[in-house]
Symmetry: C2
Subunit: 231 residues, 2 copies
DNA sequence: AATATACTGTGTGAAAATTACACTACTAAA
DNA sequence: TTTAGTAGTGTAATTTTCACACAGTATATT
């Protein structure tokens, strides 16, 4: 980082977002390329300051939109980072949020402020060093969703609306970073009863097309008041 | 609440603590009686502002000590509350922490600031309305430890160092609010292998004394890298 | 010393869940 | 029509969970 004189400020709150996506069998997160000091040109989590008159949940939505152009995802707070010197310009306590979304080739990622030069999807495996303590924030968030995957229906937010069981399995394998047994996985998933088999098949593959399924949110809610146990 | 003119302030961070204790088969939390506006004379969670030059973890320790006289407990952050109007005097975002401790009859609870008149243990079942949004904070914290009880060895922080299996069971029953089967509970607990049977028995009971056990932190760490599954 | 009281400590069988494991069926492309 | 590549399926062994009841023992009471 260059030596530049920067203004300092008193206590402020900020938000940082860890947004997961799944594409080509690979788990990715959304990063921005910073266009301002400090850490100009570095990759960072989308994050910015909370305004006086907005709740932190609202701030998270706004900030993500401004830095990446993404809207209307259900973000969820997961941890607050409050070390004294985590930000070089002053005291900044940041509340970290995560969300999981379908990566949508056509939906363009376009920051609406100058603060981010661009937003990109980056595989979680080969992450470079990120600005501030963002590497740590990412790691904490990844552990969080890794655990939540097994008792909350978050996998379906990462997949297209219609998906094959193999896609679902490969998502679990990517997050848990281990191979699962195909027959056992399918048996268990279907036994929950919240997957709806469609009268449709996968298109555009050069081999036997698989059946498509949908996640049935209503059935899920009926069956589980809270948890599913994929332990 | 009375109509009093109060100063306002800009953004500040605060900490609120949800401290659980277990006594006489009952789960309790630590509350203070406020001695200052707003919510003077109300019961509240121990909580106060974070200073400029302390991390939030440090602040949590300091604040708990100042308001209750308690020290050296391992608190853990669990959620951050950031609604705009949660505090009548200005914008206050609060990071909530929990801890579980042995209630120790002889250890006196004595606030070291005038801000709290006194600190008391209150059963979690019949909680009155608390100051600010503290009822909500408590509820969130209680749900958190209810879940964590099943995959982290937190129960042992609430019990005396030497405890009987029946005491352990009644703690689980209090937190989960349901009866458990004695034989199955003991079988499963012992099967983990981290309870050390002592050559000692319960004292001062007017019936057959039960064996005492200790939680063996070293064995626990060896056996579980992370989790135990009491599902 | 006998008796009442109150909790401790223990085992088994049935049911359910988890695991390991391998081949045929199908589709598209060559 | 052949090839390449994934889809889709069942069973048996093992492990885990669950339901369930009574004799043993320390103390207090008479």
């Amino acid at each position: 980082m260059e030596e530049v004189k920067l203004p300092t400020f008193e206590s402020v709150f900020s938000i940082d977002c860890v947004i997961f996506g799944f594409e080509a069998g690979e788990l990715k997160i959304l990063l921005i390329e910073r266009n301002e000091e400090p850490f100009k040109d570095w990759l960072a989590l989308p994050g910015y300051m909370v305004e006086q008159d907005e709740s932190i949940d609202d701030a998270a939505e706004r900030i993500l939109y401004e830095l990446t152009g993404l809207r209307d995802l259900h973000m969820q707070q997961f941890y607050t980072f409050g070390e004294v010197n985590r930000h070089p310009q002053g005291r900044v306590i940041t509340v970290a949020y995560y969300a999981l979304i379908r990566i949508n080739g056509q939906k363009e990622l376009r920051p609406v402020t100058q603060f981010a030069r661009k937003a990109i999807w980056h595989p979680v495996n080969e992450l470079p060093k990120l600005a501030f303590d963002h590497s740590e924030i990412f790691k904490t968030g990844f552990n969080k969703i890794r655990r939540r995957l097994n008792y909350q229906p978050i996998a379906f937010e990462l997949l297209p609306e219609k998906f094959t069981l193999t896609q679902l399995q490969s998502l679990y394998e990517a997050v848990e970073n281990k191979k699962l047994d195909k027959r056992n996985f399918r048996k268990k998933m279907l036994s929950f009863g919240f997957l709806k088999e469609l009268d449709e098949k996968q298109k555009g593959v050069s081999y036997r097309a698989a059946k498509l399924y949908k996640f049935d949110r209503r059935k899920y809610a009926k069956i589980f008041h809270n948890d599913m146990n994929l332990g």
